[in-house]
């Protein structure tokens, strides 16, 4: 992360907390009370112990007073600590919720270019995990650091009040344990690197082999696969043992250093009491025992804080990643004209487009489509046939030139109304988690059951839906689990039949559907195209032949346009394509 970024990340973080700015000081105040009260209680216990000198010389009146005070203080500390934790949870979870909501809202506004080019896993990670890590690391960590520092200073204060000599012994000696923890940490670092390398190797091997387990079985290669795995496993065993054992030395050694500090405090304290303080102050046995308990807890916040600081940095990095998403540029500005029941006259004038500046794709394309015409787009796999669809639906904006629908320049129309003019069926079918009914009604959530059934009927999907276990109420998993590719496609068609748009964008079925099923879907397509302006990414001969215009694409460019016979007689790329792909 860049330095300048860090500062702005912090200020943006404060922006989110801003909503809770009244709660934050309350939390700090309560944390302050809790820390000091919890440090004061041992102090008073020490005083009480001093009242218990020996047989017949116990000051019960004073003890009762002190113990009563301790009960009150305990209640105070408990209540403050409860509310600190409740308030901090509230702030942390609300901030996470707000950040998540904003990030999710952002998804709906991001240009397609961002979504197409960044990994979805990464974006999901930012919205779900990074927000979590941020709230836990930064907010909860922050209060822990705050109370930790308070505890350190409070303990020091009480120790100095009781005995400055012992306080100095503690202050001078405790850094030793922190130093040792650091030392072991740095020594074991390389062991951990080695172990994660071995772990990664084992994991990669396991996933490759297990994924191909059937292949191994088919070729009878189980023994050699086992041998290779055992080799990796043995190495992993060794490096894991090293890493686990060496890092587990941190606790015993710091505990050892602490016990040395403890012994030193005992020695100094005992000598101070026995010989009497040369400066005149008297150390009592009660005070001595309290100093011992302070010594025990003094080092704890140090170890915690060093851990928290690492988490802190991680949290800031997470926050920066979330902000990076939230502050991406939005889609270009929306138009204002609402178009309804478009006739379907599409005009492209000198349209140029490219995904990146150095690779021009569409260059000065002119195209005029009248109502009800059928446009077929053909070309080899990966030639960018979807680019044109992206422009027509305004998923992407043309770099230059004009695209218009019914005489309206696309940019002047609202995206929502423009897109609702089209019915789109893509080759990778996307279904939402929910019932079949929900999926058909996706574009018209208030549709009646009758409308839904009619839409399914006109998509020829009714008969198979009826045969599903729960009919229209069958719940489909994410991605439409449990349906065949052809059935999913039919549901997608039913989905657009319900909204009954005047224009169609169809990406014809792929090789994942067998040719007979495809033929059935094809006949449904042919039916619904009548009277509608249609753009079809065409795989089938019949579509291509009957199209009013064929756009031939290659390497992202439209290289030929015309009708089937014209193109064929021209003997160019189309005729090559036609002969290799369609004719046997």
């Amino acid at each position: 992360m860049k330095k300048g970024n860090k500062k702005s990340t912090v200020s943006r973080v404060l922006g989110y907390i801003g909503k809770h700015k009244y709660l934050l000081p309350v939390s700090f105040f309560l944390a302050f009370i809790y820390t000091f009260v919890s440090l004061a209680i041992p102090y008073f216990i020490g005083e009480a112990i001093d009242c218990i000198v020996g047989v017949g010389s116990v000051d019960f009146e004073k003890i009762s007073g002190i113990l009563l005070l301790c009960i009150l203080l305990t209640a105070l500390a408990a209540i403050s600590s409860f509310f600190v934790s409740v308030i901090n949870n509230r702030i942390a979870y609300s901030v996470t919720r707000d950040m998540r909501a904003e990030a999710f809202k952002k998804i709906q506004k991001l240009p397609l270019a961002y979504i197409d080019t960044t990994s979805h896993g990464d974006t999901v990670n930012r919205i779900i995990n990074d927000t979590d890590r941020f709230s836990e690391g930064l907010l909860l960590g922050f209060t822990q650091v705050f109370t930790g520092i308070l505890t350190i200073f409070g303990t020091l204060l009480f120790m100095f009040m009781l005995s400055w000599q012992i306080a100095i012994v503690v202050v001078v000696l405790t850094p030793l344990s922190i130093f040792i923890a650091k030392f072991i940490g740095s020594k074991t670092y390389s062991m951990f690197i080695k172990r994660s390398e071995d772990e990664a190797e084992a994991a990669a091997f396991i996933s490759e082999m297990v994924e191909n387990q059937k292949l191994i079985r088919a070729f009878n290669k189980e023994e050699s696969s086992k041998e290779r795995f055992f080799g990796i496993g043995k190495r992993l065993e060794k490096s894991t043992l090293n890493a686990i054992f060496l890092s587990s030395l941190t606790n015993p050694t710091t505990r050892f250093v602490n016990s040395i500090v403890y012994a030193a405090v005992v020695l100094v304290g005992a000598i101070l009491i026995i010989s009497g303080d040369p400066m005149g102050a008297v150390l009592t046995i009660g005070e001595f025992s309290i100093l011992l308990s302070y010594t025990n807890q003094y080092t704890k916040p140090f170890n915690e804080i060093s851990g928290i600081i690492a988490e802190f940095q991680g949290a800031l990095a997470s926050a920066a990643r979330v902000f990076d998403l939230i502050e991406q540029e939005n889609e270009s500005e929306d138009g204002t004209i609402v178009i309804q029941n478009a006739d379907g006259e599409v005009l492209l004038k000198d349209v140029s487009f490219s995904y990146s500046d150095d690779k021009p794709l569409i260059d000065a394309l002119n195209l005029s489509v009248s109502r009800g015409e059928r446009i077929a787009i053909v070309g080899p796999t990966g030639c960018g046939k979807t680019t044109l669809i992206n422009l027509l639906m305004r998923f992407y904006d043309a770099k230059s030139g004009q695209i218009s629908l019914d005489g309206h320049e696309l940019r002047s129309l609202t995206r929502h109304s423009l897109r609702s003019c089209y019915g789109m069926v893509l080759q990778d079918t996307w279904l939402t988690a929910g019932s079949v009914k929900d999926n058909i009604a996706f574009g018209k959530p208030d549709a009646t059951d009758e409308e839904i059934v009619n839409a399914a009927k006109s998509a020829h999907a009714h008969s198979f839906i009826k045969r599903l276990e729960h009919g229209y109420d069958t719940i489909l998993g994410e991605g439409g689990d449990g349906l065949s590719a052809g059935q999913k496609q039919l549901i997608c068609i039913a989905r657009i039949m319900l909204t009954s748009p005047n224009m169609l964008i169809l990406d014809e079925a792929t090789s994942s559907i067998d040719t007979r099923t495809e033929m059935k879907i094809q006949s449904v397509f042919a039916q619904i195209m009548t009277g509608r302006t249609s753009f079809i990414v065409a795989h089938r001969l019949s579509t291509v032949r009957e199209a009013d215009l064929i756009l031939v694409m290659r390497d992202g460019k439209i290289i030929e346009t015309g009708k089937h016979e014209q193109l064929l007689s021209r003997g160019g790329f189309y005729s090559q394509l036609y002969n290799s792909q369609f004719a046997h």
């Binding site: 408990a78 999901v124 005992v266 089209y422 089938r540």
Partner: protein
């Protein structure tokens, strides 16, 4: 559990010495308050400096011994945990090697990977933690109480009340929050799924203008999650204050009881300090114990998942037969039906046919018609639920696993290569000369691009990502040919090849292997039309058999397929 002890057995010494080391360390820690009491009562009160100094020396000695014991304990525990998991992981891997296709289907790939990586490592940290702390924490807690009783019975009584109260609060809160944490997790899963779906379906959502609706759904799910988190947080927030109150009240009671006892002469001031010091250790150890129980229960859950895999005994037993009886019939299906474990209907039903030695037979049909299922029965990847498959006059179940692997070469539908070199992929563990490899590549129409890319030793990345789909398919064909199988099964493995290459491949196969019996499975009529015989599958049954010309006359399905591809159809 039996399996668990079996894996721990080689580490018996470590598993005993680890906890013992920890117990010794804990015992030493319990002595410390007694030493302090002695310093106060005998050293300080009597002004005895030499006693004090020797007691301080004892404290340091306790520290050194504690360090020694604890280092040993850490080492033994780590060794036992890592060793245990390594051998468990190895036998898990070996066990998976013995499983049949249907066992593998049931387990699922991602599940198996998770078992071998996440679950084993959770078991590892669980064992490590258990060996170190499972005895130590209760020992310190009860040790403190016993020490308190040895100092004074009534003071011990205070401990006997405080400890159960603390335990009730700690474990009670843990008990209440565990299901709450699960609900939080399922809330997180929900918004995670929605986010992922919104990214993958962005075009559809925008095309239908559903952005606002999706946002509404998300907002609802997000708020539900947040309130669930807050509720869980509130309950967890009770832990610290409640235990704090209990332990402090215990201390206060202890001081009061101590005051009375000292006044009457049954206790000394130093002993009161010692009792006070014991209380501090209880809380820390109880909280450690609670956390440990959470990770140990996770480890146990992981272990039971692992153990359940060990319980799956391979559903197939192989015979010993190495060669068949011969005769002119290479493959025969006699009334074969197949039903997969997960499905309710038969995938194949009552198949009867014969394939003669050296014949090329085409199998054609739509997706889901059972073509691949049929092919998988021949090398016994799956077992028929009814009927019998006979190879060279001997039922498949009588052959040994090795014999079947040598006899039958399969080119699966999904062309997968393994990371390594082209040579390694072709050999895949067997041995043969380079000439043979090139010969196989040539038949598979793969010699050209392999030579162009630099020969047999060029690298193959995981999954064969550095080759195109068609190239991968040709390499997998070559891989099967290297072993010179008697029966070659090509399962729709030329779908990414263009027409010309596909044709060249088929004619090369035909001329190179006169004696090989070949099964070609395809959706393309073109791929099977020259076969000696064609089986048309429809919905798990053989609809028709015959040659291309016969089927064009007799089979409606075949004609439909053919026409969809040759007359106005696509590829």
């Amino acid at each position: 559990m039996k399996k668990f002890l079996e894996y721990l057995k080689p580490y018996t010494k470590e598993s005993i010495l680890g906890p013992i080391g920890k117990l010794c360390e804990a015992t030493l820690e319990l002595i410390v308050p007694l030493v302090i009491a002695s310093i106060i009562d005998n050293g300080i009160s009597k002004g005895d400096t030499t006693h004090t100094v020797s007691m301080v020396a004892l404290l340091i000695l306790l520290g050194v011994l504690g360090l020694g014991f604890s280092v040993l304990a850490q080492y033994f525990s780590a060794k036992a945990a890592v060793g245990f998991v390594t051998s468990a992981r190895h036998s898990l891997y070996s066990h998976i090697q013995t499983l049949s296709y249907s066992d593998l289907d049931r387990l699922g790939t991602s599940n198996m990977i998770a078992l071998m990586t996440n679950d084993t490592s959770r078991v590892q940290s669980g064992i490590n933690l258990a060996l170190r702390l499972l005895l130590r924490s209760p020992f310190v807690v009860f040790g403190s109480m016993i020490m308190a009783f040895t100092i004074d019975a009534e003071a011990g009584g205070v401990f006997a009340i405080t400890i159960p109260l603390l335990a009730i609060v700690i474990f009670g809160i843990m008990f209440i929050t565990t299901p709450m944490h699960k609900r939080v997790q399922s809330g997180v899963d929900k918004i995670l799924k929605r986010t992922r779906a919104n990214l993958s379906g962005v075009r559809v959502i925008r095309a239908f203008g559903n952005e606002e609706r999706e946002l509404e759904f998300f907002t609802k799910e997000n708020s539900v999650l947040t309130s669930e988190q807050k509720r869980t947080g509130r309950v967890s927030s009770l832990l610290n204050p409640l235990t704090y109150v209990i332990i402090n009240l215990g201390v206060i009671l202890l001081i009061y009881v101590g005051a009375i006892k000292v006044d009457t002469g049954t206790l000394t001031q130093g002993e009161v300090v010692a009792l006070y010091n014991y209380t501090a250790q209880i809380l820390v150890e109880l909280i450690k114990l609670a956390n440990m129980i959470i990770s140990i229960s996770k480890a146990l859950a992981s272990w039971s998942r692992i153990a359940s895999v060990f319980e799956i005994k391979s559903s197939q037993v192989f015979g010993e037969r190495v060669i068949g009886e011969g005769g002119e019939c290479a493959i025969e299906f006699r009334g074969v039906s197949l039903k997969y474990a997960q499905s309710s209907d038969n995938s194949l039903e009552n198949l009867n046919f014969k394939v003669l030695r050296g014949q090329t037979v085409g199998i054609i049909g739509g997706t889901g018609s059972g073509k691949t299922s049929l092919a998988n029965l021949i090398p016994r990847f799956y077992d028929a639920t009814e009927g019998e498959i006979v190879l060279d006059g001997i039922p498949v179940s009588n052959y040994s696993k090795e014999a079947l692997a040598i006899k039958i070469g399969v080119v699966p539908q999904k062309a997968t290569l393994i990371s390594g070199t082209v040579r390694e992929n072709l050999l895949f563990g067997s041995e043969t000369t380079d000439d043979e490899l090139w010969h196989a590549l040539a038949i598979a129409q793969a010699d050209g691009f392999i030579a162009e890319k630099g020969g047999l030793d060029i690298k193959v990345e995981a999954g064969g990502e550095n080759f195109s789909g068609g190239q991968r398919q040709r390499l997998t064909i070559a891989r099967a040919l290297v072993r010179n199988p008697e029966i070659l099964i090509l399962d729709d493995c030329a779908s990414a090849l263009d027409f010309a290459t596909d044709a060249a491949l088929r004619s090369a196969l035909k001329s190179a292997s006169e004696n090989t019996t070949t099964l070609i499975i395809s959706q393309r009529a073109a791929s099977v039309m020259n076969a000696d015989n064609i089986l048309v599958l429809d919905d798990g049954k053989i609809a028709n058999t015959g040659t291309h010309d016969e089927l064009l006359q007799s089979s409606v399905i075949y004609r439909e397929i053919y026409e969809s591809q040759f007359k106005g159809g696509s590829v």
